[in-house]
Amino acid sequence: MVVDLGYGDAGKGTVVDWLCATRPVHTVVRFNGGAQAAHNVVRPDGRHHTFAQFGAGTFHPGVRTHLSRHVVVDPLALAAEADHLAAVGVPDAFDRLTVDGAALLATPYHRAANRARETARGADRHGSCGQGVGETVAYGLAHPDEAPRVADCRDPEVLRRRLTALRDRLTAELGPLDAPPVADCLPAYRAFAERVAIVDGSWLAGALRAGPCVFEGAQGVLLDEWHGFHPYTTWSTTTFANAETLLAEAGQGGSALRIGVLRTVTTRHGPGPLVTEDPSLPLTDPHNATNPWQGRFRFGHFDAVAHAYALAVAGGVDGLALTHLDLTERDLDLRICRRYDGLDRLLPGPAGDLDRQAALTARLLRARPLYDAGPANWPEMIGEALGAPVLLTSHGPTSAEKHVRKEGHLINAWCRGRAPS
């Protein structure tokens, strides 16, 4: 199980790609988020793909993707993504995809509503990606029996009714939406259902029996809907919780290795607290351009306080994967923040106490970081600061630039124990 212990963008995609490059992975399971994910994978031969809904192991022949019911599925974006995969030499991505019929569908109506709301917030934007994922989750909670789901794509009449109800409700609330008529949407969803294998919740147990699976998290724990810094969060549980639930349902609860991914600099795309932000850092990110929904990509020094909080929220990890070590080999003044001025630790609260989370956010927006100089041995020091071993280090974008540390035998032992007989 791979999750990001920051605000996203630490390198989950490249870690999942490496796992699939180095062992016989059967399926990459997505357990949160949706089409707004952007997991960049660069192959040693230079091919690049930004994985949104397909698992980041898709470059490897035979590795499947399963979108569990915790994923918000967007068939329109999925088609475009498959097109690009075909263009970079992966023509059979659809053949290796299964989708849980119970997953919610993100539609053009959700997207239009998301954008209308975020635009209305003006300067107080939450950093939404403008893809309507949060809007989809909100509608699913408000109207669980009527929210369009993946399985509805097989039944055009049901889907038509549900899309119409959705459009009418959102239009009543927000005014006219910039989205196509329901009748125009139906052929695309029908084509999706004809092309993609829609399965039920029992499919995963079979996959787990067939070989090792990787659970690929989206976004980051510090953006978690309940434990993140409200309101700058995502409508998604970004911890291991959903993955553990799925495993437990398949009779394999607690059996998976838990990997937390961190980057040597703490980054954030979108507004909200980033205590160690340092605009003077001469860094750019090739895959995160400034965009109208999230603004500029932000860089800060390694924020051990925030990452320790994420670790506690996530319930601990077996080990860490540390990416972007190549940055520490350059002549940059990279530092580490072990405490804030007047604040040594952030304590997790109970899930769902958003007032408390908002108060924490207010506190963080005022907090000043205290820095120590960057160490000679980053993996050692980060392992110490967070109390978890760094199993894997990454020194460049491709899987060939990953190094397993001596503690990393854990990953390999775990995998050998799970290989199909």
């Binding site: 605000y7 707004q36 068939p75 974006a77 088609a79 475009a80 403008g130 979108g270």
Partner: protein
Amino acid sequence: MGSGMWSTDVYTAADRYRRATGKSAFSYSDSGAKVVHPQLDPRGATRESRDSAEHPRSTPVTVLFDVTGSMGHVPRTLQAKLPQLLGLLLRQGYARDPQIMFGAIGDATCDRVPLQIGQFESDNRMDEDLGRIVLEGGGGGQMMESYELALYYMARRTVTDSWEKRGRRGYLFIIGDELAYPSVKAAEVARLIGDDPREDVPVRQIVDEVTRRWDTYYLLPAGSHYSGNRKVLDFWRGLLGQNALELDDLDAVCETIALTVGLGEQAIDLDTGLRDLDRTGSTATRTVSKALARLNGARRAEVAELPATRTTGGGVVRL
């Protein structure tokens, strides 16, 4: 953490899934059909673009393309691209209530299916018409196709509320790479369309008729057999003036048509349109800019020098 990386356009998603099933978009033709699909048979049929409660000010747009062999892969590329046209027009607000009709042109002297005409549709049903088009693929080698028959059909067998109620011309785009025959032959009209015009109609006369009600453009795309051939371009420039355009990248066909309509409807000027394309991430900007530069310039010149009665334009000259 994330981005809206992949397109979420319903109009392209259906097509992408269809291609991903390995099913050809030209399913009717590829299943071996050699006769015109009943839905596209022009014989005895009139095509109407009407206003409705949902679409009170319809703007008719017709796209007819040459499906003979000299066009090579062009029809298949068009088939993949054209479904985006409606979305482009709607999203950018270039035209009120666009209604789009597709059709195909062959050679009446030797083809089995020389004329195929769909319906005006304001939704994805036009995709289905595209899928029903028979790709003739033959063609003579005499550098002529029966464009004049298509022009005859457009002039005499189409009815639009846009014209009848508001005196506004629709848009007709012909995509091809050859010459028309010198006249519309009465016998072919009788056989294929079912009219009895008694005598042949010179192509010049039918162009005058059609341009009265249709703002008519000829697009000569790259990748077709005779593209870049001066003879073809000169022939169409003689009939349509600056409305005969060269297109150096077929992938830009939708954007070219959309911007031409946007210019005609005075919804945009060329610079605004090109900026719109840039903003939507289109890769077609350069091609469209090149194709339409002449048009844009010519239109401005027209304001300065010509009254609104040029032979190729017929009625009102839109700026």
